[in-house]
């Protein structure tokens, strides 16, 4: 494919751009393979650069032969209005943009074309290598080891090459357990609290309606428990959902076979439920014209705050089990790709002050979300402005909800975070659309396959530069 085939028009004069909080910009529109650029005619050089990948949906309203208006609804939640003169130009611009925002092949994405214009002092691709990260958690002679059983991503496509598992579980056992867990996501170590209680995450066990069991899985879970200690399995689905999952080949750990583990259901909404909630929230946010301002009740009925509450509640429960009971915890939902990651990462922010520093938070995002296999590409392919008919069930603002939860903790503990609120906003923006390769693809395997570490720049390389970082720091600390 060549971008030239898609770009029916690359330049268009006399367009008017309306943006929130900005003056109307009267200028020239240019369309490149990755950007929409509007530059002002006026004396002040004012420009808007918008990545096509940032555009979630385009709405067009043609006005006869005189032209028309395009609404560009962005994944960063902005809505831009572009007035274009001339029916022919209008149609060409609209068609071009619609094609460009749907370019699927990730290697055509901007990160593969972007060249950093600064000296990279520290390569973000190697800043948070599992070996160095986990060396903070495990010491030689420990009960834990790094396993490379997944080095070619065959045992579990969504896991990284290196994972931390109990020392006494052989790689061959891991393969057996992978066959027994959804998506091959066998239980791995997420966090060790004060060197004792551990936090694990996984996919659901494939119990099926026949009540299958896996001795290796049971042995792995038992081996992490200290003597006479019980652990908790936090299932982020309702009891009913977990029950009915058996019929679809999934299920939950039965007490009979996991006698030392207590199972707790803490339901957290996922996937399209979350996206619907965000859609309602943004409907309310963007509806500034409604005469009778029902903002608060609209906010409430969007259920977004409730989602935050449930997620935080669950994370607090996990934190409490680890900290106060000294009990180990395994968290999973169905796939172990969404709410499980929210919960394990929030619990670490609650418990571990290191995660509240810039570096520590970056490491957490990298470990739990990026290497942990949250499918950013599919989840963020569409967002709340895409009409619901065109959405897929696998589009979801899981990561945004997580960041919002962090924001809530941040606003309650404003002196405990090294970074400021805008750091979270910046991560949100880059997770949806970015010149950096950090959030590309769905997992490490995919990123390796497209050679992202060699061919793209890392967000961390950029952010951690001393020219950039200070503006994201919290003045309270």
């Amino acid at each position: 494919m060549e971008f030239a085939e898609l770009i029916r028009i690359s330049r268009c004069d006399r367009v008017m751009l309306h943006r929130p909080h900005h003056r109307v910009l009267d200028g020239t529109l240019c369309i490149t393979g990755h950007h929409l650029i509007v530059s002002a005619h006026g004396e002040e050089p004012e420009e808007l650069w918008l990545l096509h990948s940032n555009i979630d949906a385009i709405e067009r309203r043609q006005q006869g032969m005189t032209g028309g208006t395009l609404w560009l609804k962005c994944k960063d939640l902005r809505i831009l209005q572009l007035d274009i003169i001339g029916a022919d130009q209008f149609a060409k611009v609209a068609d071009t943009l619609e094609d460009l925002i749907r370019v699927e092949d990730p290697t055509f994405q901007y990160p593969f074309f972007y060249r950093a214009m600064y000296n990279v002092l520290e390569d973000g691709w190697t800043t948070f290598l599992p070996e160095s990260e986990f060396s903070r958690v495990i010491q030689p002679g420990d009960d834990w080891r790094i396993s490379y059983v997944n080095k070619d991503y065959k045992v579990c496509s969504s896991y990284p090459a290196a994972v931390v598992v109990p020392k006494n579980v052989e790689d061959s056992d891991l393969v057996a357990i992978a066959n027994f867990r959804q998506g091959g996501r066998f239980p791995v170590l997420a966090y060790r609290h004060e060197g004792l209680a551990v936090l694990l995450r996984s996919g659901q066990p494939l119990i099926t309606a026949n009540g299958k069991r896996c001795k290796e899985d049971e042995r792995l879970l038992n081996s992490v428990l200290a003597r006479e200690k019980r652990g908790y399995i936090i299932d982020t689905r309702t009891q009913n959902l977990a029950q009915s999952a058996k019929l679809r080949g999934g299920g939950y750990e039965p007490e009979l076979h996991y006698p030392n583990w207590r199972r707790v259901h803490k339901p957290i909404d996922r996937h399209h439920m979350l996206l619907d909630s965000l859609t309602k929230l943004m409907d309310g946010v963007n509806d500034t014209n409604s005469g009778t301002d029902k903002w608060l009740s609209r906010l409430e009925s969007s259920n977004w705050m409730n989602n935050i509450k449930e997620t935080l509640n669950c994370a607090c429960l996990v934190a409490q089990c680890l900290d106060q009971d000294g009990a180990s915890v395994l968290v999973h939902d169905t796939d172990g790709l969404d709410s499980a990651l929210q919960v394990t990462s929030l619990a670490q922010i609650i418990l571990n002050p290191d995660c509240r520093t810039v570096r520590g938070f970056e490491a957490l995002i990298e470990r739990e979300w990026i290497q942990g296999g949250h499918p950013f590409a599919t989840r963020h392919a569409r967002s709340c402005y895409t009409p619901s008919a065109q959405r897929s069930k696998i589009n979801a603002p899981t990561f945004l909800l997580f960041l919002d939860c962090v924001y809530q903790i941040h606003s309650q503990f404003s002196c405990s975070f090294e970074f400021a609120e805008n750091f979270l906003v910046m991560l949100f923006e880059h997770s949806y659309s970015s010149q950096f390769g950090t959030f590309l693809g769905n997992n490490e395997g995919e990123r390796k396959a497209m050679k992202a570490p060699e061919r793209t720049a890392s967000l961390w390389s950029y952010i951690n530069r001393h020219e950039v970082l200070p503006k994201y720091l919290n003045p309270h600390v």
């Binding site: 019980r230 707790v264 009971d325 418990l351």
Partner: protein, 685 residues
């Protein structure tokens, strides 16, 4: 970013969990180690020093998954989730035990007042200078809605009610200045009360909380307590002096000198060619609710002033509140004109308004902002009042700001209290909040003030503000717009001046609106007008965190002493009454406390560059929040879990050091420039 101050690596944010009794007992034992000072060990009605019985807080379900009482709340998260604020929270919360001192500080500022050297018996509460113990009842149970019943000793003094329970360590303490008491009711009769804790009293407070105490019938203590409480909580109804007249604490600063009317007018640049300062009301004869000193248009003679006074409700003529230092556009305030049904006119009043307009050469127009909804303004004609007709007042444009009257506001606050105290319905928090309309009213007041500030600043046009009497909504509007326009009022002494001037000297009827020492709790003249103003100030402060020299703690302290009657500042209805009662000589000013403890209220993020900025806050509903730190502060789960005030003091210290360092470097640079050879000097520059 200040270097050298790093986030606390040790601390855990365990607080956000939904309290398990285990965590609270562990941290309260922690806090008992460090809470040695008196002000630290006290607590609000919620009792930050709660311990194992904290499970009674919210009827939560025990969790199937947690073995030993870590009932981490599947069922009842205690807190609501307003858009940008707290959610679930913890009772005795953090390992950083200092927070309890913050809580107590916010709950009871007066506790920071030090006692003399007298030694105390163990169960005798420490008293403030001038305070006397009037009665003590033992074996009283305080029915705390958050931590459950506490058994202890209830003492009544001429200033406070003090309840101490030794059941926990540190002892549970509750103290309430009697000034906040709105009404006292007996619960349960002598023969009818069955069951535990059903016989006692309930105390309804003006600061969004109610207290229930249970007495033992056989002790016969209820009668004594009730009598003493009625006596000292309502001195005005018993022809007794307020406690402020007996309070004799020594403060290094004298708050009464913070506001000098002439000095403030001079600060604004008066007198000018067009404005003069007059003492025509020195004896409060022309207008008894106005101050002694006015600034009026120079073109108006004293006789004109008398004629205008006759045409304005209660003689409250348009008087200068604020003048723009550059454009000379002004804010003047007054009461409604006495138009009546017949549409009366006054040539003098019309000419006077024209003088105000002429005093501002920048504009050939003047706005008259009537704070009321237009229907109310029209309805007032039937009572002899009304508003300026644009036919009679050339070049004037009348705008109505749609702010409702004191009765609507009182009702709204009553609903808000129901939503906030004692428990918050988590699942309908936002819609319940919306139904109180409290934030709606805040929005109206704020956007009215914004409109005034905008006319003065951006359109360089003078504005006359009035409502009916010009002492409620008018005070809100002028004070808020002045706060937006003039950075001086956003400093600690400047804010004191603003309150002294726009609220106290211009006769906001504090005694009547608050009902100081008065037992008629249903009095229709009571209304939270001033509270609403302070809430608006908080909303602006929240939107401009660097533009205010003070923190919200100062606002809360001001509100606490609005009710406490510890200081003379807010007593009585007008300047005249305060002169008559010799308030300045016989009582202490609230500003003495605040100016003497400035560091407690100082905002480390304040940038004095913002002094020259005009603040235009956003007044959309989306930008307004409930001030939960005030309205929900009795609920332990809604409290700030971090000792932010300690961090603030640290930051202030760092800031001071950095400023000193900059000063030294500047001096060094200056010294080098004068002494060194020109070549080196130019290299530095």
């Amino acid at each position: 970013m200040f270097s050298g101050v790093k986030p606390d690596k040790k601390s855990k944010v365990k607080g956000i969990t939904q309290l398990g009794s285990r965590s609270s007992s562990s941290s309260s034992s922690h806090s008992s180690n460090s809470n040695t000072t008196r002000s630290n060990s006290s607590s609000g009605s919620g009792g930050s020093s709660s311990s194992s019985s904290s499970n009674k807080g919210g009827g939560r379900k025990s969790h199937s998954g947690s073995s030993s009482g870590s009932s981490s709340g599947s069922g009842s998260p205690p807190a609501g989730t307003p858009p940008h604020t707290q959610m679930a929270s913890h009772e005795s919360l953090n390992s950083e035990s200092k927070s309890s001192s913050l809580n107590s500080k916010l709950g009871h500022e007066s506790m920071t007042v030090r006692d003399g050297s007298r030694t105390l018996r163990p169960d005798e509460p420490p008293l403030v200078p001038g305070e006397q113990l009037e009665g003590t009842a033992r074996e009283v149970t305080y029915l705390c809605p958050y931590v459950g019943p506490k058994k202890g000793t209830l003492s009544v003094t001429n200033y406070r009610l003090i309840f101490r329970s030794p059941e926990t360590d540190p002892p549970f303490e509750l103290e309430v200045p009697l000034g906040v008491v709105s009404r006292i009711e007996k619960v349960g009769g002598a023969n009818t009360s069955r069951g535990e804790n059903s016989y006692g009293i309930e105390i309804f407070c003006k600061d969004i909380r109610n207290l229930r105490f249970a007495h033992k019938q056989e002790n016969h203590s209820r009668r004594m307590v009730t009598e003493k409480l009625l006596h000292y909580a309502f001195p005005a109804s018993h022809k007794l002096p307020f406690f402020a007249f007996g309070y004799c604490e020594q403060y290094p600063e004298n708050g009464w000198s913070v506001y000098e009317p002439i000095a403030e007018l001079k600060r604004q640049g008066l007198p000018t060619e067009s404005w003069r300062i007059t003492r025509i009301n020195e004896q409060y004869e022309l207008c008894e609710t106005y101050p002694a000193v006015w600034a009026v248009p120079a073109a108006a003679s004293d006789n004109d002033l008398r004629n205008v006074a006759a045409f304005r409700s209660r003689g409250r003529i348009p008087v200068l509140s604020w003048i723009h230092p550059e454009s000379q556009a002004t804010i003047t305030r007054c009461a409604q004109p006495l138009v009546g049904v017949s549409g009366k006119r006054s040539r003098d009043d019309e000419a006077y308004i024209q003088h105000i307009m002429d005093a501002n050469a920048q504009s050939h127009k003047i706005f008259i902002m009537d704070a009321r909804p237009s229907v109310n303004a029209v309805a007032n004609k039937a009572k002899g009042g009304g508003y300026e007709s644009e036919d009679a007042y050339q070049n004037a444009e009348v705008q109505f700001l749609d702010i409702h009257n004191i009765h609507v506001m009182r009702e709204s606050l009553r609903k808000l209290q129901e939503v906030c105290y004692p428990h918050i319905d988590n699942s309908h928090w936002l819609s319940n909040l919306e139904a109180t309309h409290w934030l709606d009213h805040i929005r109206c007041v704020l956007s009215g003030a914004l409109r005034i500030a905008d006319k003065v600043e951006s359109h360089k046009t003078s504005v006359v503000v009035h409502c009916s009497d010009g002492w409620d909504r008018t005070a809100q509007l002028t004070a808020l717009s002045m706060l937006m326009l003039d950075g001086y009022y956003r400093t600690i002494p400047g804010f004191a001046v603003l309150l002294e001037k726009e609220w106290l000297s211009f006769g906001h009827k504090f005694a009547q609106r608050v009902g100081h020492g008065d037992d008629r709790h249903q009095d229709a003249d009571r209304s939270p007008v001033f509270l609403q103003f302070v809430d608006c100030v908080w909303q602006i402060l929240k939107q401009f965190p660097h533009a205010f020299q003070f923190t919200e703690d100062m606002l809360i302290t001001i509100l606490d002493h609005l009710y406490s009657c510890l200081f003379g500042t807010f007593l009585y209805n007008s300047e005249r009454e305060r002169i008559e009662k010799e308030v300045k000589t016989k009582t202490i000013s609230l500003w003495s406390l605040i100016l003497s403890n400035k560091a407690d209220f100082e905002n480390p993020l304040y940038s004095s560059n913002t002094k020259h900025h005009v603040l235009f806050p956003r007044t959309s509903m989306r930008h307004l929040c409930l001030w939960d730190k005030y309205y929900c502060r009795w609920n332990p789960s809604m409290r700030q879990q971090e000792p932010v005030h300690i961090r603030y003091k640290e930051l202030l210290h760092v800031k001071e050091q950095l400023e000193k360092h900059v000063d030294e470097l500047r001096k060094e640079l200056a010294a080098r420039q004068t002494h060194d050879s020109p070549r080196v000097a130019s290299a530095i520059v």
